[in-house]
Symmetry: C2
Subunit: 202 residues, 2 copies
């Protein structure tokens, strides 16, 4: 099996980190997003929305969407658990993973795409919306700071997929000048810890 | 246990349909979104981003996010499976659920929020972005039409959470004049079938 990946993009990085945490080795095929290699008829056959990452199994079956690929490997190899074990843990991790994804990861992405026009050949950038999205992302960092006052990791006591999503969002946010500030001491402590894990460089 | 719900909103409807499919009875507490009842300090204690639905367990533990609440009940009561059984089914359903959510459900929501200014007391509407989001949603209906040419349901042979997300998006899309068109015969066939299920009126 192999994963169609773009090494510089934040979304496929989430899968690389997830697999590194599980100790799963993978073949990665690089796709150049700027050249639109992800939108060829061949790639749309693998993923109808033409995005990376895409996992291709040996029989040709393809799975798109970072979190869906993570779900596949979590089900195949449950340990170490990154999506929870009990029903309650699974739900709490999914809640935080989603909120971090919608209120931070996607807002950073929208800020980047709409402010810079990087993908203007394939979408309509609305710079004013890019600004609004950037402000939303910055505000959500305060929610995480509060959460991390009383929790070691975002979803509770254990490192999870929610931490991966948040770290990838925060690292990518530098390109649009959104940063954890000096007063966000709990977020700083958490960021230092998750960035020091070997998986962070995957 | 109980769920904080808003009967007219598309997101909590997803959970009501999911629970109806599983035959799980629930107490629902109505929250008036227009009056901002979801954003009180008490509700933010239950869900930091101040949104519905929120599941509150008998010990006071709260879980926000529609899909996280569904995940909880899927883990507690696996049958009938709405999120897949094998690792591959789970991944494929998660892929389609996410793509329908991001490319249709959220785009319809963004079109509504940014075009109408319905929540302008709590967000900055960008009407131009509302238009762009509406166009994206309409385009994604073509992806679903193609998918449903060779699949009974969105994620394959079985009704799943991806169908629930799509039906709730399409029903809500009427408020922004986005509709399945007459040429989308497979989407029409699918819509008629899922709407006829007793859960649709939950």
């Amino acid at each position: 099996m192999k994963i169609y990946d773009t090494h510089t993009a934040p979304t496929p990085r989430r899968v690389r980190i997830f697999l590194a945490e599980k100790g799963i080795e993978m073949d990665y095929v690089q796709v150049d997003l700027q050249k639109g290699e992800n939108m060829t008829p061949e790639m749309r056959q693998k993923n109808p929305i033409g995005k990376v990452p895409v996992l291709e199994l040996d029989d040709g079956t393809c799975i798109g969407e970072s979190v869906a690929i993570c779900r596949y490997f979590e089900a195949l190899q449950p340990a170490p658990a990154l999506m929870g074990t009990t029903p309650l843990e699974q739900a709490q991790i999914e809640m935080w993973q989603r909120q971090v994804e919608f209120a931070l990861f996607m807002q950073v992405g929208m800020c980047f795409q709409h402010s810079t026009g990087y993908f203007k050949d394939r979408m309509t950038p609305v710079p004013e919306y890019g600004k609004v999205a950037g402000i939303s992302a910055s505000k959500y960092l305060n929610v995480l700071e509060k959460r991390l006052q009383s929790n070691e990791f975002i979803a509770g006591d254990n490192f999870s997929i929610a931490d991966i999503t948040a770290m990838c969002a925060i690292d990518f946010a530098r390109v649009v000048q959104i940063k954890v500030n000096d007063e966000q001491v709990n977020l700083q402590r958490w960021y230092k810890a998750v960035s020091a894990r070997p998986s962070a460089s995957a």
